[in-house]
Amino acid sequence: MDNTSDIMRQSAQLDWHAIAAQLEREGYAVLAHGGACDPRVLYAGLLPIAARWCDAMRQAAAFVPASDVVVRSAGSTLAPGHFQPLVQDVSAHAFPFMLIAVLGESGVDFTGGELIMTEQRPRMQSRPIVVPLQMNDLAILCTGRRPVQGGRGIYTVSMRHAVGRVRTGLRIGQEWTFDQPAGGADA
């Protein structure tokens, strides 16, 4: 990505209204054929949503602009019997979203290996979620806490994500997280 105006131009081409609505309903959003998107472009679009969520949860957070964020990419290869445990990132200054792609076709290249989330709610049972992620898609996941509009104001739920046990084949996955450089943004 060359410069900030390129990032902003590409980001503006995505339907952020629909993405935000899905994130606020489910805690994830799937971009069909989003696998080719530049993570930095998505970060730019997610920034205002992240700011709004932190504000709703009365959480002070200031995230750096897309040009300064440290994009960390990690790959994983899961063989039959392998899984990834339920994890979350609720550290104070963590960016609330990450990206996940799967580089193979479910049901063809592998079986099992579903992208599963749980949503822990105050004084209620947790909701299980299967993210309908397919090859060439890109999933945006909420990495930890998120605000939910309830009947009597906003409450906070806690999201975790996991990969279910691979039954057959090899499941090759890729994920991107957005680290804030030391010192953070000038709030």
Partner: protein, 233 residues
């Protein structure tokens, strides 16, 4: 009367899968016609003792009904025979978890124990989910007496009757928590731990706690039967 077909199932394989994963799938336990016949009972209230709308209790979205006694013959037979096969596994698990309770060989003896303790109401149930419905992660505990394994049978056809709506299990122990989607076809049964199961640790057996639920239906309609072996207060 033991069902010879059911007795010939791979119960050693079921025990091994339960030990390894906390759940085991019995493929094609019911034929498609049996599934359709059971699902067709759902609108007829006289088969059921009560109806629960999940959203009213924060259990999720969708509904279920508890069967009234007498259960449909096919479910009564399955409850008796599957209990007979699972009781030895339940007894071994309890011994491994240092839980003193041991279970009798037959369902009739175990239910007599439940009924004496005031747990007299039938717990077998049928669930119905429509588009957007889901079931939160939970445990089916109904009183002092708990049989530690239970069974769910999927009556609908994935992909053609519904999409989404996957059976999810989570496991929480001393170490990492995990989640799993259990792939089921129409007529398949999943047997799973109600509450806790033993897992080998570095210093002997430890306990992990399981919960089960269903992810949101993306489209269609999904019926399932739950066979719980203890009755409810």
């Amino acid at each position: 009367m033991p069902d010879p077909m059911l007795a010939q199932r791979d119960w050693a394989g079921v025990a091994a899968a339960l030990d390894a994963h906390g759940h085991a799938v019995l493929p094609a336990l019911l034929a498609p016609a049996q599934c359709a016949e059971l699902a067709a009972l759902y609108p007829h209230a006289h088969h059921f003792r009560s109806r629960i709308v999940m959203a009213r209790h924060g259990f999720g979205r969708g509904e279920y009904q508890y069967f009234a006694y007498p259960l449909p013959a096919v479910l009564q037979a399955l409850r008796e025979e599957v209990y007979r096969q699972l009781a030895p596994i339940a007894n071994r698990w309890n011994a491994q978890m240092c839980i003193a309770t041991q279970y009798p060989a037959t369902l009739a003896e175990f239910l007599a124990r439940c009924h004496e303790a005031g747990q007299r109401r039938p717990t077998p149930l049928m669930l119905h989910y429509g588009e957007g419905d889901y079931n939160c992660l939970h445990q089916d505990l109904y009183g002092e007496h708990v049989f530690p394994l239970q069974m769910t049978i999927l009556l609908s056809r994935p992909q053609s009757d519904f999409t989404g709506g996957e059976f999810i299990m989570t496991e929480h122990g001393a170490g990492a928590s995990r989640a799993e989607a259990v792939p089921l076809a129409q007529g398949d049964a999943v047997i799973f731990a109600v509450n806790q199961r033993p897992v080998p640790g570095s210093r002997g057996m430890r306990r992990v706690a399981l919960r089960h639920g269903v992810s949101r239906l993306l489209s269609g309609s999904r019926h399932a039967v739950g066979l719980i072996f203890h009755d409810a207060t």
